[in-house]
Symmetry: C2
Subunit: 501 residues, 2 copies
């Protein structure tokens, strides 16, 4: 390519280098940093964020984009060159539309709100959080005006996490499967006695848990020559390049699930980050398509593979060998049903794969209502509890396990939640395509072979990095847009069998 385009790529590399450094500082804060380092670390992160932001919104960026646009004129939409200029221009615009005084105010208010929210949650005192949340929502609405939108101010928020997605689309997708989810959950509840997960709640040595889970994710394809695993209170996936992708794990010595399924989940994210095309590394196209597509990878490996009967046909004897005292006398069917127990519960992050999307729909309805003013902050606890009971059949026993449970709103993260639910839907859509292309995938999994599936994901999802929007990618891969049909069909098929419905 010409020198103008190359200059732009170099510029995105500089920004990427700074962001990667900040990412490592953030990772380290969760994994290694002693408590005494907190204040200085916040200052170090602020400096890197400021420098990265200044580089991104600089006049130089505008000039480089303009120059490169002229140079690449006429190139195909999906070429590396056209994609990089297009995606990076969107990054630039998104970051220049918010005035810096607004960004500073937003940062100040949400930073203060964090403590207020934590205090309110700890004391089950929504009224304490209310004024802060009202201020945040006013800022979010103002931000939507700066950013611009077509159908709905909430779309301006969605755009930041899932480029190109509108409120109308999300509403259609959610409305399209909500009734069937509600019915499924109601039917399962009538037969809740058919599944018992007591076998998962035993003493499981943490080193042995780690060894088994690491074997599993390496069998999936998580590459330790380009990856790393560590312990952290809140599991996440991070990294500094496609050659250095890190997962963290939380262990519970008396419960198998957090580490085992948590590691599969994070490895799903990590394999995506290890899988974008090598020449995109360090550029504006490095990374994954969007939060929703990223979540499709973690959910696929955690749930569609990691909670499948096929996978455990291969893996359960190994798990039994690792934990003979705990599982030697447990049969595969009992274990399989235990890990697939469905039960409405109050806390989103502990929800099973069948109830999960209902937790998200609740938040979507409330967030859009708050943005339009149809729901008042003062009425939130009541709104939350009533809707929760309508969907999941149980009423939250406190605001602490209800409207106060998530950190997101205190941080100003409106529009973020829907991406979690989209991940579930996309996982089913993509998996269906992978199996259509390679009908041997289910048989492979019975043998503990995952390379055909991972190979398909690499080629069809991972390789593109940030080139496409979730909608574009999904149409390219499946021939249609994001939709819930494969996911709801998968759930109904699976849980009818598990619960004998």
């Amino acid at each position: 390519m010409g020198e103008r385009y190359n200059a732009l790529v170099e510029h995105t590399r500089e920004i990427n280098n700074i962001n990667a450094a900040a990412g490592l500082l953030g990772w380290d804060q969760q994994v290694n940093m002693p408590p005494g380092g907190a204040m200085a670390r916040a200052r170090q992160l602020a400096t890197l964020a400021r420098i990265g932001h200044e580089l991104l919104v600089s006049d130089e960026t505008a000039r480089l984009i303009e120059d490169a646009e002229r140079e690449i004129d006429g190139m195909a939409y999906d070429s590396d060159e056209a994609s990089l200029v297009r995606v990076f221009k969107q990054d630039y615009q998104e970051n220049t539309r918010l005035p810096s005084a607004y960004v500073a105010e937003f940062t100040r208010v949400t930073s203060e709100a964090h403590e207020v929210w934590a205090h309110a949650r700890a004391n089950d005192d929504f009224a304490h959080f209310r004024p802060a949340l009202e201020r945040i929502i006013a800022l979010v609405i103002q931000g939507a005006d700066y950013l611009g939108y077509q159908d709905h101010p909430y779309s301006a928020m969605l755009e930041r996490y899932e480029r190109g997605l509108t409120t109308t689309q999300v509403k259609d997708i959610f409305d399209g499967h909500k009734p069937r989810l509600v019915s499924l959950i109601a039917a399962v509840r009538e037969h809740s006695d058919r599944v018992n997960d007591a076998v998962l709640h035993q003493v499981y040595d943490i080193d042995a848990q780690r060894a088994f889970a690491m074997d599993v994710v390496q069998a999936f394809g998580f590459d330790l020559a380009r990856g790393h695993q560590a312990v952290a209170v809140h599991p996440f996936c991070s990294g500094t390049s496609r050659g250095d992708v890190r997962i963290t794990t939380r262990f519970n010595a008396e419960w198998l699930n957090p580490a085992l399924f948590g590691m599969m989940h994070e490895a799903g994210h990590a394999m995506y980050e290890q899988g974008y095309a090598e020449h995109l590394d360090g550029t504006a196209l490095a990374g994954g398509t969007s939060l929703g597509v990223h979540e499709s990878q973690s959910r696929m490996w955690e749930n569609m593979i990691g909670r499948s009967r096929g996978f455990w046909t291969w893996a359960f004897p190994k798990l039994q060998a690792q934990f003979p005292a705990q599982l030697g006398n447990v049969d595969l069917d009992t274990f399989y049903r235990a890990i697939n127990k469905v039960a409405p519960s109050f806390i989103r992050v502990e929800a099973d794969e069948a109830t999960y999307n209902l937790h998200i729909m609740l938040r979507f309805e409330i967030e859009t209502g708050l943005i339009t003013g149809q729901i008042k902050v003062a009425d939130l606890p009541e709104e939350w509890n009533q809707r929760f009971e309508d969907m999941l059949g149980i009423a939250p026993t406190s605001d602490r396990v209800g409207v106060l449970q998530d950190i997101h709103w205190s941080a100003g993260l409106f529009g973020y939640f829907p991406t979690y639910a989209l991940g579930n839907l996309l996982a089913a859509q993509y998996y269906e395509q992978a199996v259509a292309a390679h009908p041997n995938i289910p048989d492979d999994i019975l043998q503990g072979k995952f390379d055909t599936l991972l190979g398909w994901l690499r080629e069809n999802i991972h390789a593109h990095g940030r080139k496409f929007t979730a909608d574009e990618l999904t149409r390219k891969v499946t021939g249609e847009g994001i939709n819930s049909a494969p996911y709801i069909a998968y759930l109904e098929r699976k849980y009818s069998e598990v619960y004998g419905l």
Copy 2:
């Protein structure tokens, strides 16, 4: 203080934040990073180095210094304000005197030379390294001209690691104790059969080694609420602030020394970094005085305390309890003599405290000879081996364990070695002062109490951060300049007793 001075402090904080981030990336590279991350990490570090350097040598820096200088005019030399402006101005000048084209060339040549040196060392092939070393020395000489010097071009090099120190001073200090060191070593050699260190070479469980050594360094005063320990191939001390100071350790399952004394050594550095005054954190005065003063702290805890009979009177029963099979039948005297075995050997990093400074004197003589042209690179192996035998009584059996052993020259680090030897001298000078001020220190150590000593170091050495030069600090603390008398007296006293001379 006035706003101009405060603006300067803020500026140094920004630079410090970037350097701290780069420091963490470097630490992580040695501790966590998977091999696949290496190339991207090098680019990330290069970006941070470039940004930090640009900020340091910017016109803004010059303006801020000038403004602040006017504002603080008349303040005491040792005030925070005068010290910060003075020290930061020296940083600025040091970094602006070298033209950027020169710095780029130096970086390129030394970066290439690293591989060449590693290959030469692996193959015991000095001729392979010779052309690269000749180029480096030419660049070093050119650099001395850019930097300027009074007595000797080598002083320009010394200045970068030990501000204010001249070649003449180092020569006087070294010449002052070399003959007594040579005699001491020769005397010890005649009685080498009097010490046997076989007890140290047994199987020692690594987790138990770690537990014991961590207990020791925490007893010394290494604060884990502001500190961290990890495993690395090459032990070092690093950190991101005085609230986050990190040591790394190398373990050998069949040899007690590397982890035990290595951890004491690094903890000595770490306690210094945890000990400068809190209000200096993040500014241009954060850190230690110089490499030599830093090394005085690591050497004092490792050798003067960690290899003392007093310390082991307290610690040996604990070590025996940790390793009953290995040490249950060993008496304190045998153990004490074992850890104080003196034996001339070829490799500097494995040298004992009595022979160590001779290794440094050899390098100092050769480096000054190379800079003046009195020694030719072609003659290096012969020069090295002859001088080595003259000092230490044994002749290197290959260049691999001779002139090729150190990484420093391939990296262009001329003038660095003397700081190691100064550390030994300063440790003895400072310890003497501490005991003069608090005669109970030796008795405290017998009880495993180190707070009086650490408190004295905090107040007299650590608290000042980078305010003074090593010479200034040493005069302030001891009433005289750097000198070898306390160190050589300490060695003669100790080893006469150990070897019954």
